[in-house]
Every structure is written in C-alpha cells, then in structure tokens.
Symmetry: C2
Subunit: 320 residues, 2 copies
C-alpha cells in the first residue's frame, strides 16, 4: 500500500497544533504550534490556522501530491457536513465560523472538521490505547470532561449526534451549577477547573499551600505539572483537591461501567498524564463502586498518544 | 410467510406468566399464570413452570408442530449458552438451576433462556414502543430498576455482557447502601421499593397516610395501584414519596441522555403504568437537567406491551 499523508490540526482554547501525519501508520512527520488568541476575530483565526498548516507542510518535506487532505479537530461544537465551527466557548467565543471552505480554497485539499474529543478518540482507536479493542470509552479530563464512545470499532454518535457528554452525567443532584445550565455535573467536580476552584477556596481562606503562586487567581488556571509538583512536596490542599476530584471521577466511571459496560476505559488529558495519583484514586473509586463482575473485568488504562493525540486524530478524519 | 408460534414464559419474583405467542406478529394467543413460591426447591420450580407452559399450550389450541420453541425470561442472572439460571435473589434465592434441559426434554422443543429486562426490551423492540426505532433505551421500574439498550436495532450487551444496569448508576455519591454492595445507586432512590421505604418512614414517624393499611410492614411491599389511589385521595406522604423518586429517576435519565444520547427512552413497569404523575415528574426533571439539544430531541415515552411484555418478549427469543 502506498503511504498516505494528511495534515492534522488540533484547535484548542490555548493553542493550534498542526502536523503532517502518515495516516497509513499514525506517525507524526512534522509539528507547528501557534497560540490561539483569546479574543480574536474569525478571519484572523483562520489565517493563523492556515499559517500553522503551511509551516507544518514545509517542515515535513512531503510531496504535495501525497497529501490527501486536512483534518481539523476543534474544541467546540461543529457541523461536520458544512465544515462550520458552530460554537467554541473556549476559542474566543467563536460562533458559526466557516472553516472547511476557506482552508480548502487556500490549500487545494479537502478539509474535514471534527470535534477535539472525537479526533483524540479516533487517534487512540487507530494508533493508541484502543488499537486492539472495538468497544471502549475514551475520557479526556481537562478544563472540561468529554468522551468518545467506540462500539463495534466505530465512533458511536448517539440518536442526535451528541453522545459522549460524560462531563454532564449528574454526580450530585443538588450540586454546583455547571456551565451547561444544569447542576451537579461531573465536570464541575472532577475537571482541572474544579481542582483549581477547590485550591482557590483554600487560598481565599488563608490556608498555606504551595500552589498559592502557581494559580492565576482571575482565571482559576492551574497547570497539571504544578499540581504534580505540589503533591510531591506533600501539599495538603493539593492532596485534598486531587483526592476529591478523583473520587468524583470514580463515581462517574462506575456509572459508565454499570450502565454501558465498555470492555475498556481509556483516560487521557494533561492531568492524567502528569498526576499518577489522580488516575490511581479514580480507578480505585470506580472499582470499589461498580458492580462486581464488570468492576473486575473492565480495563481502565491511560491514553497513549499524549500531546499529539488531537493532531494525529484530526489527520485520521481524512482516512475515509 | 407461514405463521410461527412459540411459548413465552415470564418468570418473576411473584408469578410465572406463560403464553403462546404468534411470533410472526407478536400476538398473544393464550395465557396461564401461577404464583412463584418464595421459598421453593429448584425441581419444584421447574415443575410449576412446566405445568404453566402445558396449560398455556392447551388453552391456545395451536397445532404442536407449529410451535418452534420455548423462551423463558427470568428475573435474575442467566447463562444463555447453557440455559442455566445462575442467580435469582427474588425467586427464592435460586442458584445454578438448569432450566433449558429439563423443559426441553419434557416438551421436545428447543428452550432459550434470557433475563426479564432483556426479553421485555425485545418485546418493545419488535411489537411495542420501540418498533419504529433502532436506537433506544428501555427502562423498567419495579422492585429494582433495569434497562435494555438497543443500538442499530439489536440489543447491546456491552463488553462483558452486563450492559444496561441503569439501576446502579450513582445518583448520590454518599447515599444509601444498595443491595449490589455499592451505595447511592438509582434503584435505591427511584424504585417501587424505595417509594415503599419512604412511606414506611413516614408511618413509623406517626404521620397520617392512607397507605398505612396498604403496605406490608415486614416486607415493605406496596402495590402501584395503591399508590395511584393514595395520590388521587391527595395523600401528602405519597405525593412526597412519588415526587422524590421521580426526581431521582429524572437525574438518572439526564445522565443516560447526556452520556448515551439515545433517540428514545421507553419507560415501563407497573408504577409507570399506574401512576401518570410519576412518569410526568421524571420526564420534567430529565428535560430540566439534560443538555439543551438532546433534552429537546430525546423522545421519552411509555412502554406499550404492559403486563405481557415479558411473556411476548420471551417467546421472541425463539425467533432466530
């Protein structure tokens, strides 16, 4: 089989990560990175993505005729048919931005648009922790929590295309309000944002924590590596926050295991990669709570593609 | 197409309901009923089922050669391959009871064994509220809460065959202990058993409720019709108990809608049939809590096959 290449673009709230990917084997050939400005006009965002793509193609040195297309995985709601970014709260509140048409015109290649969790799941399915499994749920814990459901080796999109919103399973019926309009949702308790809020609470109450200087008090942004370091230093506030979040994640996992009984659950995102205790505590809680048989049999593993899961997965949108 | 008939047996905790079913159109031709003794030796249970089957065949008056098999749907865990009832807490604690072989020997017909929720889902899929839909979740609320998941027109069994245990999604992380060994499970808050416990609490605290004489204080058994009548009489304890249970059911529904996004949710069981307020309050809570798009689009409907869903569904096990 001749080798095929595609450009993958991971379009997130903080950065654009483009790369040329050998979609025959999942290998990343080149990578280019730009920041996503928080407040940015739509046309400017497209220009920035295009220059990132051009850079990745240049670095890769792959013959243009071997490029079969461009895949974009965006942190937001997308219209796959029309190639339009419908809503992206974390990318400057972008709404109804046509993405496929302008990029396709500029590069003379077909452009496929997907969402970030979907493409990261595609990546794990093809070349990561799901490559030998046709039934799994891939959960990504970041500023929010999302998941991709794979059934029979294909992404399951649900009755109306919205399946996988695991961040909005209810873990606390009378719980905290969530950005979705509901309350008590998993991501309000177990995301990195939730952990940052718990730590901010302690700081505001005058507790002594090494994270005091590591957190952006206005935005509540806390990096996964700072959390890992604070844990290593024995910081009580951090241990408390991580334990609470991991336990809630375990409650969510138990619900997924009992109701959906996937063969495997793959956990990904910076927090899972940087903080082993978070993964371990979540797994423990899930197994303590789930029904006996699936508790024993469900595999719970880490995602494998790391930082480039989104880029590789986005390129795979061009595979079919 | 020549008409085909099969015997369906609904084997529950309180009764055996056998019938001859035209499996070409789902029509129930005959029905026979016997009580399931609570403490009963396994061989005695098989005899009782056999006599119920014989009665149903006799009443039906269908030529024996037109009967293609016997399907049994049992309230418990089953081994489908070997036709053994593995564990049935509600049928006298029956364990490892071979069921297919003795019945097959007696009637000279192949016998298929399934579990009660699975066969009721099969019934709704073929001839009930799911007949025009290939993606739905069927939830049955009774002494416990179970569900069948239909994807692509087929029952989805999960990675290890235990999918659909919706009664054990966690709705209260630090909640009441559940029979499964976990705590805070949906069925601890929203089943008929949960409602009976809430009412018992009021009775024990000396509250004035018309259900005082309708409840078996030793076993906490309360009939759906008694609940409906008490509501009609404006009984406050009953209204409180039903509202609380329905709200928790709505929380569970929101979780299913957000994570799995089925096109349709079908609610069944005696409580749903007898108490319209229970269905309405649960639907309201689910739509209040679920994400906007699936909240609007997911259909929430009542099961259609009623008392004979299990019998008809069990007969359908013989369809393939």
């Amino acid at each position: 089989m001749a080798e095929k290449f595609a450009v993958g673009v991971d379009l997130g709230g903080t950065k654009i990560l483009a790369g040329v990917v050998n979609i025959s084997n999942g290998q990343l050939i080149s990578a280019a990175k730009k920041k996503t400005r928080v407040v940015e006009e739509g046309g400017e965002l497209i220009k920035r993505i295009a220059s990132c793509i051009a850079e990745a193609i240049e670095i890769a040195g792959v013959e243009p005729k071997k490029l079969v297309g461009i895949g974009v995985g965006a942190a937001g709601m997308v219209d796959r048919e029309r190639g339009v970014l419908l809503a992206a709260a974390n990318i400057g509140g972008t709404n109804d931005l046509p993405m496929a048409d302008p990029l396709s015109a500029q590069f003379g290649l077909p452009v496929r648009l997907g969402n970030d969790v979907e493409v990261a799941t595609l990546g794990e399915l093809n070349y990561g922790a799901g490559r030998d499994c046709d039934n799994f749920v891939c959960m990504f814990i970041g500023t929010g929590i999302g998941s991709g459901i794979v059934n029979n080796g294909k992404i399951y999109r649900g009755g109306n295309g919205t399946a996988g919103e695991v961040g909005h399973i209810v873990v606390m019926p009378d719980g905290l309000p969530c950005g979705c309009g509901g309350y008590g949702c998993l991501e309000t308790y177990a995301s990195r944002t939730a952990i940052a809020k718990t730590v901010m609470y302690d700081i505001n109450r005058g507790m002594d924590t090494v994270l005091r200087d590591k957190i952006d008090p206005a935005k509540g942004i806390l990096r996964s590596k700072a959390i890992a370091q604070a844990l290593d230093m024995g910081d009580a506030s951090t241990l408390r926050a991580i334990t609470q979040a991991a336990q809630f994640l375990g409650v969510g996992l138990a619900t997924v295991i009992n109701f959906y009984n996937p063969r495997r659950i793959i956990l990904g995102g910076g927090l899972v990669e940087a903080v082993p205790q978070f993964f371990d505590l979540a797994e423990l809680e899930a197994r303590r709570r789930a029904l006996r048989i699936p508790s024993r049999k469900t595999e719970i593993v880490r995602a494998e593609l790391g930082d480039y899961a989104g880029t590789i997965g986005a390129a795979l949108l061009c595979k079919n």
